[in-house]
């Protein structure tokens, strides 16, 4: 007379908390999640193919639009990959400035993550407080790069322009705001019993699983693996910076929250080092006007806020555009781990898991 059956429900592509157009096919038994199947591709624009058909320097604008929360990190990875391909040495000042922008960008991206993640769990005000602090950082980007979100910050061989007037004061003002902000988030969340209930032990992903699935970034570090490309394979000016890699061993949502908060503090620390030790000199290397490539292939990994972003470029002789252009985006690999994180989970945990992965569909679908 009675029979039970799994209720299939589509969370997304239009859903308030799938951060864009991620679609999760959930099999529900009441509130319990029995199966979860992420479906991507609703934001596919063919970035890699477009980049293969455009001149080398033009590809940057599409890296801006991949992970729109951390455009500078994408730009940096793209620029360094191509510099590696062409064998260009970037001036030291440019490397410092790149490091600085990249860390500001990490701060920005983590603020976006914290705000949206907290709002998914229901803390409305944290969202607006993070947006308040992010605004200051976006102003810095606007002053430096001319644009707030799609920065187009890097050039092959350095940077387009030197620091604008009053830049240091602007950055320090922003940091003052962010420092107070971090304290406020901690007051509102870190010890809050509801927040603890919602995050401790939720969406666990062990270190072995992380490595098996290629999950990188704060999720890997929250599982106890201190792998950070900034330390493992230093690029830009990271070899001259003093900073720590925060790690936790709990591998749950709360650990990731703590790791990211600590990373924000470390980012502030790195940018302050850059500001203090900023060397004089040009910001652009001498490069030919039209770049013509030799036969070659490079893979260059960098540490984006969400994990390892790698650019793989193959070039042919005399080409003005790359022969093959592939991007290893962190979100694409991280999102595979969602079914693994959602064993014995409830519907509300799906939202937490998606939030804690910090997915941005622009880079997953590319």
């Amino acid at each position: 007379m009675f029979k039970t059956q799994v209720m299939e429900i589509n969370m997304g592509p239009q859903h308030p908390s799938t951060h864009g157009v991620l679609r999760l096919k959930l099999g529900l038994d009441g509130e319990n999640v029995k199966s979860c199947y992420p479906i991507i591709g609703y934001l596919h624009r063919g970035v890699e193919k477009i980049c293969e058909n455009k001149a080398f320097f033009q590809g940057q604008v599409w890296t801006d639009r991949m992970d729109y929360c951390s455009a500078v990190s994408n730009n940096l990875g793209w620029a360094e990959a191509l510099e590696k391909l062409f064998g260009i040495r970037v001036p030291r000042r440019a490397r410092y400035l790149r490091t600085m922008l990249n860390e500001l960008n990490r701060l920005n991206s983590h603020l976006v993550w914290l705000g949206t993640h907290a709002m998914d769990i229901g803390a409305l005000s944290v969202f607006l407080y993070t947006w308040r602090d992010r605004e200051k950082i976006l102003d810095v980007f606007e002053a430096f790069c001319g644009s707030r979100l799609t920065t187009t910050a890097m050039r092959i061989g350095g940077l387009q322009e030197d620091v604008p007037e009053g830049f240091e004061k602007m950055v320090r003002d922003a940091f003052e705001s962010v420092r107070i902000g971090i304290q406020e988030y901690e007051t509102l969340l870190s010890e809050n019993r509801i927040w603890l209930k919602r995050t401790v032990g939720i969406a666990k992903l062990s270190a072995d699983d992380c490595l098996a699935y290629g999950v990188t970034g704060p999720i890997l570090r929250a599982a106890g693996v201190a792998y950070d490309i900034r330390k493992a394979h230093p690029y830009a000016a990271y070899d001259e910076m003093k900073f720590e890699i925060p790690t936790r061993t709990e591998a749950d949502t709360y650990a990731r929250y703590l790791v990211r908060l600590e990373e924000m503090r470390q980012s502030i620390h790195i940018v302050e080092q850059c500001l203090e030790g900023l060397p004089e000199g040009p910001v652009m290397a001498k490069i030919p006007k039209t770049l013509k490539s030799e036969v070659g292939e490079v893979y260059h990994p960098t540490e984006a806020p969400k994990g390892e972003i790698g650019f793989y470029v193959v070039s042919e002789k005399g080409g003005v555009n790359p022969y093959r252009f592939h991007i290893r985006t962190p979100g694409f690999l991280n999102v595979q781990a969602i079914p693994l994180m959602l064993q014995d989970a409830l519907v509300a945990d799906v939202v937490t898991a998606v939030g804690t992965l910090d997915v941005v569909l622009g880079e997953i679908d590319r």
């Binding site: 455009k54 940057q60 801006d64 606007e142 001319g146 644009s147 799609t150 604008p164 007051t187 809050n192």
Partner: protein, 168 residues
């Protein structure tokens, strides 16, 4: 026992309430349009938004001191544009050695404001100005060219078109 008391008395929840309550009082009792504003929002259309000097807005053809277009139709901007938003037809003009654009079409809906065109220009003939209020009702209005009716590419755009500022 301490843990039990901690579970029983939600001090950390109260702390959160105090923080939000603090902001509530501060914003509530600071005048909305006063000089010492504690809220973080700007009332945009009334108070014009400020942009940084390097802000990249709409493309504009620059003119020299004689009110003549500087552009000499070298086509560098067309080659640099990643989205093929620019097209121009070169022409000639009496009493000018270099070429002058007969038409210069800039398709706003395709522009991604990367600024590559401005960088590629060796004559400083174009610039991205500070206009960001670029919404139009008709798609045709997005095609901005020389002598356009709605927006002309060689005129500085009316920044603050949507703003109406009360006298402060």
């Amino acid at each position: 026992m301490k843990k039990f008391l901690k579970t029983l008395i939600p001090t950390e929840l109260a702390k959160g309430l105090l923080l939000t309550g603090k902001w509530f009082c501060q914003v509530m009792f600071s005048p909305n349009r006063g000089k010492s504003k504690l809220h973080i929002v700007d009332e945009y259309p009334e108070v014009p938004a400020k942009v940084q000097p390097r802000f990249r807005g709409r493309l504009q053809l620059l003119k020299d001191a004689q009110d003549e277009i500087i552009c000499v139709c070298c086509m560098a901007c067309i080659k640099a544009c990643p989205t093929n938003a620019i097209s121009l037809v070169a022409g000639k003009k009496e009493g000018r050695k270099t070429r002058i654009p007969e038409s210069y079409d800039f398709e706003l809906e395709r522009c991604i404001f990367c600024g590559f065109c401005v960088e590629s220009c060796t004559f400083n003939a174009i610039a991205l100005n500070h206009q960001f209020e670029l919404a139009v009702y008709n798609r045709e209005d997005m095609a901005i060219g020389l002598g356009g009716v709605f927006q002309s590419i060689d005129k500085p755009s009316p920044v603050g078109k949507f703003s109406y500022s009360g006298k402060e």
